[in-house]
Symmetry: C2
Subunit: 274 residues, 2 copies
């Protein structure tokens, strides 16, 4: 089921700038027992992303209404994903936006994430060849220009490998294709700074608000030498990393503690660690 500007819809107008140029932003929201997890945080990030691109975001109440309708069906209420897309709307001449055009609000209900693929004993990572370009103007934003992530995720089919780490074009580690990265190094919790590329995730922001985290430049060697490594996303929570290339890790105490803290705050993420 899908809504465009609050109306049931099956198709996007073909002049939409979201299709033409990836001119918009999106959010992917986990639903648990009929409730959107980190709902206000997702709407806040969507609004902030839209401001960065000069797109006028609708009032939160419109998204609230959309989600109420999408989750109103009993079959949908238990577990699913809500995807929100905000595009700059239609029109304009070429790249030039039409100042009078109204942003277009799209809300979709998708199936829940494939939980069977997550090993409760942790996940296996690989290194991606596709690099992230350094573009401060778009860094941190969850915008619709995601070809780099698509190319990176297309690099492997092995179902045993859950995620791939991406470096930027300077060789620094930035993130997984669809998750943020954390590493414990000599007792310090580190995560890559996202001032040049990467998406500033909602679960990442939650972690930054809970515990002391240093945002810094991370080399591949530093990640491999870390005592603990995990990735996180607002859809899957914290996923401990147990293997990357030839490196192996047990699930460490910092990761376990943060997983427990997250599960206490958001029960949807309980019961993942072995």
């Amino acid at each position: 089921m899908a809504l465009i500007d609050g109306e049931t819809a099956s198709g996007l107008p073909l002049d939409d700038r979201g299709l033409a140029y990836g001119d918009g932003v999106f959010e992917t929201v986990r639903v648990h027992h009929g409730q959107c997890v980190w709902w206000r945080e997702h709407l806040q990030r969507l609004r902030q992303s839209a401001i960065r691109l000069g797109i006028e975001a609708p009032a939160d109440v419109h998204w609230d209404d959309d989600v109420e309708r999408l989750l109103g069906h009993p079959a949908a209420a238990q577990a699913s994903i809500i995807k929100l897309i905000l595009t700059r709307g239609g029109g304009g001449r070429g790249y030039r936006p039409d100042r009078a055009a109204r942003a277009r609000r799209i809300a979709l209900r998708l199936p829940p994430p494939d939980g069977a693929a997550i090993n409760s004993a942790g996940i296996v990572l690989r290194w991606c060849r596709t690099r992230l370009a350094r573009q401060p103007a778009l860094a941190g934003i969850k915008h619709l220009n995601r070809l780099e992530q698509v190319l990176a995720r297309a690099e492997w089919d092995d179902p045993a490998v859950f995620e791939g780490l991406m470096l930027d074009t300077d060789g620094k580690v930035i993130c997984a294709t669809a998750a943020n990265l954390f590493a414990v190094v000599a007792g310090r919790l580190l995560t890559p700074a996202l001032d040049s590329c990467g998406v500033a995730g909602v679960c990442r922001a939650w972690l930054l608000a809970q515990v002391a985290v240093e945002q810094c430049a991370l080399s591949p060697e530093a990640v491999l030498a870390a005592d603990e490594v995990f990735v996180c996303s607002s859809v899957r929570g914290i996923l401990p990393v147990v293997a990357l290339g030839d490196q192996r890790w047990p699930i460490g105490p910092v990761t376990r503690s943060l997983m427990k803290q997250l599960a206490d705050a958001h029960p949807v993420f309980a019961g993942r660690a072995a």
Copy 2:
């Protein structure tokens, strides 16, 4: 009027990866007296772009059929623009493409370019603040991830300024927001190399096949010190640049000669120079 996979359509399925991730490529084709200008060249670039992204392009005959239908209406036959979009289609799990999914073919008829805005005495350029990120994996391709161009084109509203020049994040001049750049320096015809960013345009390729052109790194200072400057696109042909910041140029002999050569080969571009 619009076609999706050869069928009249008004809307794009909302799970299309073109919308979700800008996961596709496009072409914008000038129509003159009912004929597509550089049609085979556009289809060739589309196919090459699709190969770079791992998208399977349809046989040219399908695009031929689409265009025949779109231009079959008498009102459309004279002058217009045909826009082709090829997306990776629907589905997949997140960024991961569905190997079984078929690419989606979209063909649209749009109004002709706004000719009144082009001063026959040449155009005025500005410098854009928005930079192009350096990403060799996507350089040269006319893909659907175009937020940089959108942000750059949104920087000005002054109708007297026709185009804006974009630098990459290293400070080299790459292109205008929707056109390629050429400069005559000490008798040599130069154009920026596009191995790190920028779109390799169809009119640019035509010029490279006609005359000796050096593809090189160009600084803003080199452009300002050039004897002649012009931009080109397959929709508008060659547009002489007469002003950029405080710099002024007459329309020079190399530009005039190339404009005549282009007009002889493609009459749609005749009669532009003063």
